[in-house]
Symmetry: C2
Subunit: 461 residues, 2 copies
C-alpha cells in the first residue's frame, strides 16, 4: 500500500479511537512537529495529544499492532534530534500538564509530564520551594522531556542534573503495560534502579506519564548575582580551578565569549561590554568578598553586583537567551555539548579557538564553565555544503578532544541522532565497550518490537 | 564427585593460580566468612583475597568454567544475607584498598573497593573534604560493599545515599570482561545509566574493582549537635513534620527509644536518661534558635548542646553503636529497615508498638526518623522456634504496613535473602509488576550463567 494511503488509514483509525480534536494530520500541523530546536528533521505521519495515561496505553497498543514507531515529545526543545522521526506517530504530551500534588512534608511534587519547568517553579515559589534543574529552555521544556533527556542547566553546578531530582516515574512500556519505577520516598532500596534507566532514555524505553520530583526550600542564605569580564578565556578556567581548590562552590558559574555577548546585544538591543570573556556568577553572601578577591587576582574587569531581583533576572536572561541570539547569526548552528574535567578546561578553550581558526568558522562559546560543560556554537551556512563540511569537521575535532581528555561528548543534551557515532567512540575509548553491549541488550528487553523512537541513541551507536 | 572432593580440587587449582597466601580454605578461616553482621549464614568452599583487578578477572573466568557461584564481599556488614552463600567462592575485596587519587579541582576521589568509609574520610579530612554517606558500620564497611548495597546512614537525611555520590565504577562482569560505567565528570549523558544499576546490585551483576566518588568540602557553616528527650514517640514524628513544613532541613535527625538507650547504657557503661524517646540532631548554627523553639513546642525535656567536637563525637557514637548494643540483648535480632513517607511516621510508630504488644516481643526502635527510615530491632530467642515464629510474624506485619502506606520494605539495607518475598509484594502492590519482570531480565543479560551471588535479591523475588 502506498505511504499516503497507509497514513490516511492510520489517521482514520486514530480519529475513531481518540476523536477529531486529539489527532492532528494536516500538513500545517505536522509541520510544527517536523523539527526540533536544533533543526533536526523528521516528518511525522500524525500527531496525537493524549489527555490521559489510558490514552497513551491505547496509542502504544495501536502503534505496536500497526508497527508504526512512536516518538514522545514535550516542547521539542531537544538539540540532538531526539524528538523527531520520519514516519512516526508523535505523542505531544503537553495536554497532560497537571500538578497533582505538592507535598510540603515529604518535599516532593507529583506532576504530569507535560508541564513546563518554569510553570512548575511558579507554583512552587508560592510555597517557598523550588525545583533546581533549569535548562535554558525551561520556559517551554516539559518535565517529561527533561527527564527523558536527563537535562542540566545553570543551577546544576550546585544542584546536579535531572537524575538527582527524580524519585519516581510512571511509564507506559512499549508492550502497553504501565509500570512505576522508584518510590516517592527519601530512601528506597527495593530492586535494581530502573528509575535512572528512564532518566536520559531519550524516548527509547517507554513513555513517561507521571513523575515525583524532589523539591527544596528556596535558599535561606542571601545569594548575590554578579557579572564580570576578563580580557582572555584562560582567566575563566583559572578562576574556576582556583575557586574549587579554595573549596568554594559557586551556585552559578556561566561563561559568555565576545561573540555571544555581541549576538545578545543585537538580539536584545542591549549594550553590554563586548569583552573577550564575560562571567555570570551566583555566590552566597558570606563568600562574596573571598570570591571577588579571587576574580580580581585573575584580572577581572568591572564587577557588577545585581542590586535587586529584577537586575539579577536580567543578568540570568543573558545566559538563557544566548542560544536563540547566536542562532540568528547564521542559517546553521551546531551547538556542541562536550563536558571536560575542570582541570582540562583551559586546554579545551585553546582547542576550540584553534579549531575555529583552522576552519575559518565563527564559533561563539558559552555555557556552564563551573562544571566543565561549555557549549561551542559552530555557525555555518546550511545551503553551502563546503561550510557544512567544515562545521562537521570542527564538531568532530571537539568531540574527539573531549574523549581524549577523559570527558564526555555530551554533558546534558544527550545523543539523539546527532552523536550516535561519538557515543560509540567515547564508550569504546573509555573501557565501555561492554557497557554499550549491555545498553543495546537493555533496549531490546524494554522494546523487543522496536517501536519506541527506533534507530537512535544506543541502538544506532 | 562428592562435595568435599570437588572443593579440594577447586582449592588446589586456585592455589596454583593465586598462590597459597591468597587462598583460604581451612575450616577456621572459612568460619570467619560464614555469617554476615545479622547472622545470615552460608558456608563458602573457599575464600580468595584478590590483590588486583586482573586477579578478579581470572577468578571470574575460573568460576564460570567450574560453574561455582561467586560472592564479592567487603566487611560482611550486610544485614540481609547479601554477602554469604553456601558453597560459593567468596571474594574478600579488602586487599584492594588503595586511594588512587584525591582530585581537589574536580572534587572526586578514585578508590579501590576495599577501603573502609572511615579510613577514606580520615584521608579526606586532612584536605578539608568529606564523603557524606555514613552507615553505622562505616568503621568497617567498604566502599565496594556500600556501593553494592546502596547504603545510607545518618547524614543521608541531608546528603542522600550512595547513589547520589558514585559517579563511575569499574566492574568485572560475569563474562570476565572489564567495563566502566559512568564517567568521573560533573555531568555526563552518554548512554543509558548503567552506573545506577550497579548501585544497590548486591553483588548480583558484577564485581566492583574501582570507583570514583564525589567529595565535598567540610561544611563551612557551624553545625551544632544536640541531644534531647521526649516523653512519647509521637512528639518525634510531630517534630520532624513541623521542621519540614517550616522548610528546615536538619543535617542529622536520629531517634532512639527507651530500650535502645538502656542497651547503650549497659554496653557502653554510660548513664543517659532512659526517656521514652531520645533525639540526636545536627543543626546549622543560624537555625538553632528556631529548632530549639520547635523542640520545646513539642515538649522536649533537657536539650544538651555539644560543647566541642569530642562531646559531639560521643553523642554520634551512641547512635552508631546502638545495633551492637541491642544485639547483645538477645540471641536473635531481626533488624527492620522499612521506610515510610514522613507524614505516616506517627502511624508507623503506633504500629510498631502494637505489634510488640501483640506478640509479646521486645522491639527496641532507633534510626533515621528524619527520612522516615526508622529501624525496629525485633529481639527473639534463636533456639526457641515459637519465639522465632513470633518475630517473623512481627516482621511481616511491619513490612506489610510499610507497603500499605506507600513505603518501602528497605530504605538502605537492601533485599539479600531476607526480603525477596517482600520485594515482590512491594513491587506488585506499587504497580511495579513489570518493573520486577524487567529486573529479572536485566539480571539475565548481565549474568546469563547465573554465577554472581545467585538465587538472591531480584532473582529470588
Amino acid at each position: 500500500m502506498p505511504a499516503t494511503q497507509t497514513s490516511s488509514r492510520l489517521v482514520g483509525e486514530l480519529v475513531k479511537i481518540f476523536g477529531e480534536s486529539s489527532v492532528m494530520s494536516s500538513p500545517s500541523s505536522l509541520e510544527d512537529y517536523r523539527r526540533d530546536m536544533a533543526d533536526y528533521e523528521g516528518m511525522p505521519v500524525v500527531v496525537i495529544k493524549p489527555a490521559s495515561e489510558a490514552e497513551v496505553v491505547r496509542l502504544v497498543q495501536f502503534a505496536t499492532k500497526n508497527r508504526v514507531p512512536i516518538v514522545p515529545r514535550g516542547a521539542g526543545s531537544s538539540l540532538t534530534g531526539a524528538a523527531v522521526l520520519e514516519g512516526a506517530i508523535v505523542l505531544d504530551m503537553r495536554k497532560m500538564s497537571k500538578i497533582l500534588k505538592v507535598d510540603l512534608v515529604n518535599w516532593y511534587v507529583q506532576v504530569q509530564p507535560g508541564i513546563s519547568l518554569d510553570d512548575l517553579n511558579v507554583e512552587l515559589k508560592k510555597k517557598g520551594f523550588f525545583f533546581p534543574p533549569d535548562p535554558a529552555s525551561s520556559y517551554i521544556c516539559t518535565v517529561g522531556g527533561a527527564i527523558a533527556e536527563g537535562s542540566g542547566g545553570m543551577r546544576c553546578v550546585k544542584y546536579g542534573t535531572m537524575k538527582d531530582w527524580v524519585i519516581s516515574v510512571r511509564v507506559v512500556l512499549p508492550n502497553g503495560e504501565v509500570a512505576r519505577f522508584g518510590e516517592p520516598l527519601a530512601k528506597n532500596r527495593a530492586g535494581y534502579d530502573l528509575l535512572h534507566l528512564m532518566v536520559g532514555s531519550e524516548g527509547t524505553l517507554g513513555i513517561i506519564t507521571e513523575a515525583h520530583l524532589k523539591i527544596i526550600p528556596l535558599p535561606a542564605e542571601t545569594i548575590r548575582r554578579l557579572l564580570t569580564t576578563f580580557s582572555e578565556w584562560e582567566a575563566v578556567s583559572n578562576t574556576i580551578n582556583d575557586l574549587r581548590t579554595s573549596r568554594i562552590m559557586p551556585n552559578l558559574f556561566e561563561f559568555l565569549d565576545r561573540e555571544s555577548i555581541a549576538a545578545l546585544n543585537q538580539k536584545l538591543e542591549q549594550n553590554h561590554e563586548e569583552a573577550e570573556a564575560t562571567l555570570l556568577l551566583d555566590i552566597e553572601e558570606q563568600l562574596l568578598e573571598k570570591v571577588v578577591a579571587i576574580l580580581r587576582s585573575h584580572g577581572a574587569g568591572k564587577i557588577t553586583i545585581a542590586r535587586d531581583e529584577e537586575e539579577a533576572e536580567k543578568m540570568y536572561q543573558l545566559r538563557a537567551m544566548v542560544y536563540l541570539a547566536v542562532k540568528s547569526l547564521a542559517s546553521g548552528v551546531q551547538v556542541e555539548d562536550v563536558a571536560v574535567p575542570l582541570d582540562r578546561l583551559g586546554e579545551y578553550f585553546k582547542l576550540v579557538k584553534s579549531v575555529a581558526a583552522k576552519y575559518g568558522l565563527k564559533i561563539p562559546v558559552n555555557g556552564h564553565a563551573g562544571d566543565g560543560n561549555v557549549h561551542p556554537n559552530i555557525l555555518y551556512d546550511r545551503d553551502d555544503p563546503a561550510s557544512r563540511t567544515k562545521a562537521m569537521a570542527a564538531y568532530e575535532e571537539i568531540c574527539r578532544f573531549a574523549i581524549g581528555v577523559g570527558g564526555s561528548v555530551t554533558g546534558e543534551h544527550g545523543i539523539g541522532i546527532q552523536k550516535m557515532k561519538f557515543l560509540r567512540e567515547q564508550l569504546v575509548s573509555h573501557e565501555g565497550k561492554e557497557a554499550l553491549r549491555l545498553m543495546k541488550e537493555i533496549k531490546k528487553i524494554f522494546d523487543p518490537e522496536g517501536i519506541m523512537n527506533p534507530g537512535k541513541y544506543v541502538e544506532g551507536a
